[in-house]
Amino acid sequence: MARVMANGVDHHVQRLPAAGAGPHGADPPAVVLVHGAFIDSLASYYFTLGPEFAAAGCDAVMYDLRGHGRSARPERGYTVADFTADLAALLDALRLPGPVHLVGNSFGGTVALDFAVHHPERVAGLTVVESGPATREWAATMAAALRTATETLPEEEALNWFVEQYGTVSSTRRGDPRHDAHVRRLGRAAARLIRTTGIAREIHTGRALTDAQLAALRCPVLLINGQDGLVGAESDRLSALLPDCRVAVVPGHKHSVLVEAADQVSELALHFIAAAPRGTPSPDSAEGDPK
């Protein structure tokens, strides 16, 4: 596995290069996939969107956020600004000056939006799955949820809390014992992260994005939500603010729509990327004028 030092943190990176890039020899578009916080890792993409993007002629770049998966787990540096700085340094290290397409799931979408606001010249388009920007309201919601997990519950129950959150709020598969065991394994990684780093104290304490900053974001944005997900109301507000924004809702799904409806999310994202006006053209877009 590839190790890439970025912003002083040893990152685990996996790339699935474009298969069968266009015959005209154009560079395939780079799509950088940013996963969620606590219970997530690049695995959520590696077995879902990653291979589908590669097959469709995109260079799929996946990495574990600091503290997650197989990236290093420093004690400090878990504000959204830290994750944005990591991503900027990572793109430099990978020689991807951009503009690139970003896909962010859950907290990864929060990072992707923050990155696009602070590095607009490096982003061709944004696909944001079940997520929203790091506004003051977001910080307050995150702080309250983390207080529940880390202050009012003993450590072993904090782990269960993540499983409960994931099971009841997110997943449509609650009750299947094998699935619950799978989620418990993810919860264990989250508990380890919270126990050994400052993430729970820091993640909501960074700079907040303002409406003016979001309204100035020029790149096209696609918001993909589960019909019964966590961010419907915020998405309506965000889509009204952003100059170029579409919202797609996947019926019958909750917060974990990326993993549980991977085919639909992939199709929506690929269609959006192929139609995006900037960035290196996708091989698909050479065949016509995708609408």
Binding site: D176, R178, A189
Partner: protein
Amino acid sequence: MNTSQGTAGGAPAPPDERTVLGEVAQMIAGVLDDDTGTDTDASADIGADIGMDTTLGDDLEMESIDLVALSARLEEWYGPRVNLAEYLAGLELDEIIELTVGRIVAHVRSALAEGS
């Protein structure tokens, strides 16, 4: 060492199940051994206990990120024909959760047979 990798120019018969199982089991042990971040203490001899019916999740306590590492090792060893990411992307989530070592062995053997 590398008993089953195809040789340039030749068309070797796909390796037998036992050979591939041994190689995959070693790779799994290596993945678990590498993962110093987990609380479980995976020892190197875990490879000897891995059989076709062993499940990656329930039996080996592998997290999905461990599957990513395994996928990279499989490709490194057998070449790009063995593409676990693509294979798993075609499975339902339930099937991935219940994945057995035997299913990976079968995938490796069929991918190598197709390519030879």
